[in-house]
């Protein structure tokens, strides 16, 4: 059993190593961009050292000869992983298992279906497979050893052309792997209020900012902040839901959080049914007060 983890950057490599170490199998990391992560217990780090990530057609064609010598090839189930990995699986005609939350053994895994309302135990009936996994299921990796680095320049072939892209603004941690997430809903009124109140509290806690679909659709929060079944699945140590009533699709994306705090003026909101701590209060008073008291 040899395992290759595909890391899109050095931060991703840490999340990949969490899965690699949990698998109890030796693993290599293939890292597309950034400084090779050599302290995560990988047998070797295959470094591509690219200036930016290639579109999926280039990615799959270039990685095919590297991937095919492994038994399992895995990546985080991020949007870039979901875009690129199945294409590589299609090129090699291997099966694939998406969104793994738990490893049972090398052939058996747990994964959610139906927006997380059911867990399935699935088994591979093939010697080789691609896997994507959700970061929350796997504890942070131990720092271990000094992996060797193999620099590789694969052949690039494709026809897609990237005309423009928005880059992460930085400053705040990545929503999908953050330890603390503060999310806001439609009652935050406008983009400026949202940023001040939700962003302010997130910064006081060193956390990431999330939003409901309603907040995104009404233009007060950016698309990539959407948390829920159709957005990002999060599982932080602390999730603070501010002005969020708790739609099924939103709750599907947060229910694996360790502690959920709900702050809402409506004491009957469904979010209180799953929150560990509920505060029935006006957001416009409670959020600034909480932010100010945490900053002290």
């Amino acid at each position: 059993m040899n395992l290759l983890l595909i890391a899109f950057d050095s931060e991703d490599a840490v999340t990949c190593a969490a899965f690699g170490q949990s698998s109890n199998h030796p693993f290599d990391i293939l890292q597309l961009t950034g400084l090779p992560a050599t302290n995560l217990g990988a047998g070797k780090v295959i470094s591509l050292d690219l200036p930016s990530l290639p579109p999926a057609d280039y990615f799959a064609a270039a990685l095919k000869p590297i991937a095919e010598s492994y038994d399992r090839v895995a990546a985080v189930s991020s949007m870039r992983g979901k875009d690129a990995l199945p294409r590589l699986a299609g090129l090699l005609d291997w099966p694939m298992i998406s969104d793994i939350t738990e490893i049972v053994d090398e052939k058996t895994f747990i994964r959610p279906i139906l927006a997380g309302s059911i867990l399935t135990k699935v088994q591979l009936n093939h010697p080789k497979a691609f896997l994507t996994f959700r970061p929350a299921g796997f504890p942070a990796p131990n720092l271990a050893g000094e992996s060797s680095v193999e620099s590789v320049s694969p052949g690039w072939k494709g026809t897609s052309k990237r005309l423009s892209e928005s880059l992460s603004e930085g400053g705040r941690p990545d929503l999908a792997t953050a330890k603390v997430v503060v999310s806001g809903g439609r009652p935050l009124k406008d983009a400026e209020t949202f940023e001040n109140l939700v962003g302010g509290l997130a910064d006081a806690l060193g956390g990431a900012v999330g939003a409901t679909r309603a907040a995104v659709d009404s233009g007060i929060a950016a698309n990539e902040l959407q948390v829920g079944q159709t957005g990002k699945i999060v599982a932080p140590d602390l999730y603070i839901a501010a002005g969020i009533s708790g739609s099924t699709q939103h709750m599907a994306g947060i229910k694996d959080s360790k502690i959920i705090v709900a702050i809402n003026i409506d004491g009957d909101a469904p979010i209180f049914d799953i929150a560990d701590y509920g505060l029935v209060a006006d957001l416009f008073d409670a959020l600034p007060e909480l932010t100010q008291k945490l900053q002290k």
Partner: protein
């Protein structure tokens, strides 16, 4: 230009589905079925493109049991021109579906394949990318805006950090995300009226068996309501006692 829209019949995404007591399957009694919502967005997008360019021909295809005809009829009512039904009750996985669709593509020669980014039943998010790989066509997943011009598709797609615009030559595979459009409502008479549109039955072209098998289905652990606190200070004290705040 010909657009092929593969659609899947799925469990109503708003249904509350529970596993069978013995974990061998899902309890589907009384559960309704719908077009996979992301595929419905793909049908809607194809129809909107046709409204701009009447030369577009829209073919919908579904692979599944006899009851999938219901979803194909709805897609015809939304504005698709023709439906194909690969009728089978076999267990399928995304790589089999991609191979069956490849066979349909070889017959139909579409310019664009437009489909949902994932089906809301099994949530795999694999079929379109596997299909694109087998055809060696470029792909643009998670589309929030699509423009065709000059033998190319300019696709705005959602990414982890926001969005990007990809230009891909035709033929190509595009998957839809939530924000691409809101599908039109089709009243029942519209679905009946669409019965005159052609629906052709096809047979499976491959004999592959699924390579991923579901052993059991269980309900995930549930959360229960915790404690209501009266003030911000009380909340901070509770979180500190749990070690959630420094």
């Amino acid at each position: 230009m010909k657009i092929l829209v593969p659609i899947k019949r799925v469990i109503d995404p708003y249904a509350k589905v529970k596993p069978l007591d013995d974990g061998t399957g899902l309890n589907l009694s009384g559960v309704k079925f719908e077009i996979n919502p992301f595929d419905e967005i793909a049908v809607e997008e194809a129809v909107r493109q046709k409204e701009k360019n009447p030369e577009i021909q829209i073919i919908v295809v579904s692979i599944g049991g006899p009851e999938s005809e219901e979803q194909l009829r709805k897609a015809l009512a939304m504005g698709a021109d023709e439906a194909l039904h690969v009728e089978t009750t076999d267990q399928l996985d995304p790589s089999i579906v991609a191979k069956e669709l490849t066979a349909v593509v070889k017959e139909q020669n579409p310019t664009v394949i437009l489909l949902g980014k994932q089906a809301t039943d099994n949530d795999n998010n694999q079929t379109a990318q596997m299909l694109a790989a087998q055809l060696e066509w470029p792909q643009a997943t998670f589309a929030s805006k699509i423009e065709f011009n000059d033998g190319k598709a300019n696709v705005t797609r959602e990414t982890d950090t926001g969005e990007e615009v990809l230009a891909i030559p035709l033929p190509c595979v595009i998957t839809t995300d939530l924000r691409l459009n809101e599908p039109r409502f089709i009243p029942l008479p519209g679905i009946i009226k669409a019965r005159s549109k052609p629906l052709t039955k096809l047979e499976r072209q491959t004999s592959d068996q699924p390579r991923v098998e579901v052993l059991s289905y269980t309900a995930p652990p549930t959360r229960s309501a915790g404690k209501k606190v009266a003030t911000v200070d009380e909340l901070i004290a509770e979180l500190k006692s749990k070690g959630a705040l420094a």
